[in-house]
């Protein structure tokens, strides 16, 4: 299945901004993070289709997922 992955802030360093990739059906977010080679502790915020998600959630075909390190402002 095809998943669009977006990386933000420091997670982009040495990686990419946004890419659509093939993943095995039923993959969890935690497994995606592993496949991308991102240390899991660097990811504190995960959005799937604009909603907060957790590493144990599974993805479905066509999902857009966004990963953020700790961020803040205001």
């Amino acid at each position: 299945m095809r998943i669009t992955v977006k990386l933000f802030a420091t997670l982009r360093s040495g990686r990419f901004y946004t890419e659509t990739r093939e993943f095995s059906p039923g993959i969890t977010i935690g497994e995606v993070i592993k496949e991308l080679g991102i240390p899991e502790k660097e990811v504190t915020l995960i959005f799937v289709n604009g909603r907060h998600a957790d590493t144990h959630d599974t993805l479905t075909d066509g999902d857009t997922i966004g990963f953020f390190p700790p961020v803040g402002g205001g």
Partner: protein, 578 residues
């Protein structure tokens, strides 16, 4: 910092200075002090531009000390924009300098008869007030340049631009940063108009020959400051994200969350967001020889600001903040970072609140006065404000008035003050704060984004009404207390997640003053401040009907989540039941 300086600008024979001890206000600082004075001494039914109003400028309890992050200053008055009490908060150097000179507050009172402009110079030897009509209608940058020529470069300035002189509702008060640039503003609520009504163009502060305020227990204070600073450095938000990208790191995340107000609160995502994101902005600053990491005042360890150069590598403005980039960017459908930076410079120079201006321009776009995305048109509108043309004065009076003049239904204001950069339908906790804070729509008054979006201090689902009342209440209480210390609100990211950093903040206060403040005392202080503010507003005629969002937030769903604001009115009325 043991005295209060009152300047009666309307005294017979010219401004009269009185310096007195704190008296009834002992133990108060920052917002706690400004709100205490306004609620006690300003008649709630007075006209905000009349002689009865007061502009109270107060450093926080820890300003002027060696404590990190203590350079915030509070400016309080009855707001010409909202008609209620106002505390507008700014960074820059003046807080530290004023506190070191020994003043817990400057109060501008009364109103001069004529239209002379005054400058006020304060140093260790005293206070000198002189008329200076050569400053008339000068921008903040030129005003500060003239002050440098006259008083040297070891000064800090508090000034107004043409907008303040014209007493426009969106007028700010500028504070200079460490490089003497007038870039840190008490933006909200028209505090610049009140300073203008007092005839004061600039206050120049010089702390030459005075030293830092000394703690009761210097060793323990130093130790507490070390733990506090380490706590800020090790937290991901205050130690990494804010220094590297600044506040504008939020653009991408709010856009991703579908809570980034776009085209005047019509949509929750902006197609041009990545072009004006913090990541893009920081890269541009580095590429052009600017700086992506810069402190607004000495003693700040977060350093969330930066320097933004133009295409030719010349200074254009300080790093535009998230709120500014949003107001002039996504809200207006503009995705050109250089044009947004130009608007930031113009707002700073003319002395305008960037949020109020951007939102007003977006409302004008909705009315068809200009098209969404018309960056040059938006720049021209700000220049009109600076020139004081009739159109400029309308825009410079803020979003509510602009909406009324041009017949717009969708006007995102509460208590007449423009809403900042978070859609309250997609992030319901911030909607509770917008609706209920005594300040009018203000994100800083109870920053629910932390917990709704950033997962700081736990997590409350932003798309549902459950848990938002408690969240906003607790944040509003904590904020009112932090705003009284002179500390930057951004310490909240670290102290909400790290108990030892919170304790270090308490230790700073306790070792400085010889107190034994606990977490409960902080809560009590916050409640006391909010109670005074709510009480003033009630006496000024506010009822629960003003603690509401504009009706369209309940009836018009915002994409992509297609949600409306679902917190019930009767629940909003419970925010201050504690």
């Amino acid at each position: 910092m043991d005295k209060i300086l009152r300047i009666n600008m309307g005294a017979e024979g010219g401004p009269k200075v009185t310096v007195a001890p704190f008296g009834d206000y002992a133990g108060l600082g920052g917002r706690g002090l400004t709100s205490a004075v306004v609620s006690k001494e300003v008649p709630p039914d007075c006209h905000p531009l009349s002689d009865a109003n007061k502009l109270v400028i107060a450093p926080g309890l820890l300003s002027g000390t060696a404590g990190s992050m203590t350079g915030r200053i509070s400016m309080g008055c009855k707001s010409p924009l909202t008609g209620g009490i106002k505390e507008s908060n700014a960074g820059g150097q003046p807080s530290q300098v004023l506190a070191r000179l020994g003043y817990g507050a400057i109060m501008l009172e009364g109103k001069p008869e004529g239209d002379d402009l005054y400058k006020i110079f304060i140093n260790k030897d005293g206070i000198r007030i002189t008329t200076d009509n050569s400053l008339r209608m000068l921008g903040n940058y030129d005003t500060v340049e003239k002050m440098k020529k006259e008083f040297g470069d070891k000064i800090a300035c508090i000034s107004i631009g043409p907008a303040g002189e014209m007493k426009l509702n969106a007028a700010s008060v500028a504070c200079t940063d460490a490089e003497l640039r007038p870039t840190r503003h008490a933006g909200r609520g028209g505090v610049g108009a009140v300073m203008g009504s007092k005839g004061v163009k600039v206050i120049v502060l010089d702390d030459t020959g005075v030293s830092m305020r000394q703690p009761k227990d210097p060793d323990k204070f130093r130790e507490a400051n070390k733990v506090f600073t380490e706590g800020l450095r090790k937290h991901g938000v205050t130690g990494e994200a804010l220094p590297a990208y600044g506040t504008n790191v939020l653009t991408n995340i709010l856009n991703e969350a579908g809570g980034y107000p776009t085209y005047n609160f019509k949509e929750g995502r902006f197609i041009g967001a990545s072009k004006i994101s913090g990541e893009t902005e920081a890269a541009l600053e580095t590429e052009r020889g600017g700086v992506p990491t810069h402190a607004c005042h000495r003693g700040c360890v977060i350093r969330c600001s930066g320097i933004y150069n133009d295409k030719d590598g010349h200074y254009l403005t300080k790093q535009p903040e998230y709120e500014t980039v949003w107001a002039h960017g996504g809200h207006c459908g503009i995705d050109d970072m250089d044009k947004i930076a130009m608007m930031d410079f113009l707002d700073d120079d003319i002395g305008l609140d960037t949020i109020e201006m951007g939102v007003a321009i977006g409302v004008a776009m909705e009315a068809g006065l200009l098209k969404f995305g018309d960056a040059d048109g938006a720049i021209n509108l700000i220049k009109e404000v600076g020139k004081g043309t009739p159109l400029g004065r309308i825009i410079g009076s803020g979003a509510a008035i602009t909406g009324r003049v041009f017949g717009v239904e969708r006007v995102p204001v509460v208590k007449g003050q423009a809403m900042p950069a978070y859609d309250p339908r997609a992030i319901q906790g911030i909607g509770v704060t917008y609706a209920t804070t005594p300040m009018g729509a203000d994100h800083t008054a109870g920053y629910a984004i932390a917990t709704n979006i950033l997962r700081v201090g736990g997590f409350v689902d932003p798309l549902k009404p459950e848990g938002q009342i408690d969240l906003s209440r607790n944040l509003q209480i904590a904020t009112a207390a932090i705003d009284s210390t002179g500390m930057c609100l951004f310490i909240a990211f670290a102290i909400m997640d790290q108990p030892e950093t919170f304790q270090a903040m308490l230790d700073l206060i306790n070792t400085f003053y010889g107190l034994s403040f606990t977490g409960d005392d902080v809560v009590d202080l916050g409640k006391k401040v909010l109670k005074m503010e709510r009480d003033f507003n009630m006496r000024a005629g506010f009822t629960k009907e003003q603690d509401r969002l504009p009706p369209f937030f309940k009836t018009q769903p915002v994409p992509p989540h297609n949600v409306t604001f679902q917190v019930k009115d009767e629940d909003l009325d419970k925010v201050f039941n504690w």
